[in-house]
């Protein structure tokens, strides 16, 4: 399956794009997706420890099992207010 990954805030500048498509075997976890993504975009890997990850509009951890059609979002710590 192909998973669409949206980048937000300055992650777009780090990666040089706002959206990335990553082919993954069925049954992959969110953690495996991130490993694959960081191989392709090492600039994002440097931010790994402060990265927030959501599937659709909910936060998810690395054990989350990816589904067909899932859209993943990666972003830096939020700063509203």
């Amino acid at each position: 399956m192909t998973v669409k990954v949206h980048l937000w805030s300055y992650f777009r500048e780090l990666a040089g794009c706002a959206e990335v498509e990553v082919p993954m075997p069925p049954g992959s976890t969110l953690g495996q997706l991130l490993d694959e993504l960081y191989l392709r975009h090492p600039s994002l890997a440097a931010m790994r420890n402060s990265t927030l990850v959501a599937v659709d509009v909910e936060y998810q951890g690395p054990a989350y099992l990816l589904q067909e059609q899932d859209e993943v979002s990666l972003f830096p710590p939020v700063q509203g207010g």
């Binding site: 979002s73 939020v78 700063q79 509203g80 207010g81």
Partner: protein, 137 residues
Amino acid sequence: MRRELTLTETPIDEATWVAGRPWDASNGAVVTFSGVVRDHEPDGGIRALEYTAFERMARHQFGLLFDEAERRWPIVSLRLVHRLGIVAAGETSLWIEIVAPHRGEALAACGWIVEEMKRVVPIWKRALRTGQSGPAH
């Protein structure tokens, strides 16, 4: 609990929001919080902040916070307005109003909402510094 969430690029006119308060005379306490863009930060002068959001998720996460606030306190009305786009120094970027039976509940809920918002709601800001025409982190 009555709830109202507004994400807007238009300046927040607090007096207008206050005048439009949904009133219910059975309730004794109203707390408001306004976050105003400061004209300086420890590392220099600021002329504006530019706010961006993953808006669909922001609305969902605000909704979860409002649900949780409602579980924790007997809130009657919660209105929250957040600016997006460029907000000049001195302008209000966030306005919250909480109506509850008593002040302790309203104050606690107000502090909690701002704190949690800064943890989970996907909104980001970047500083537009004085003497600079472009954005900077």
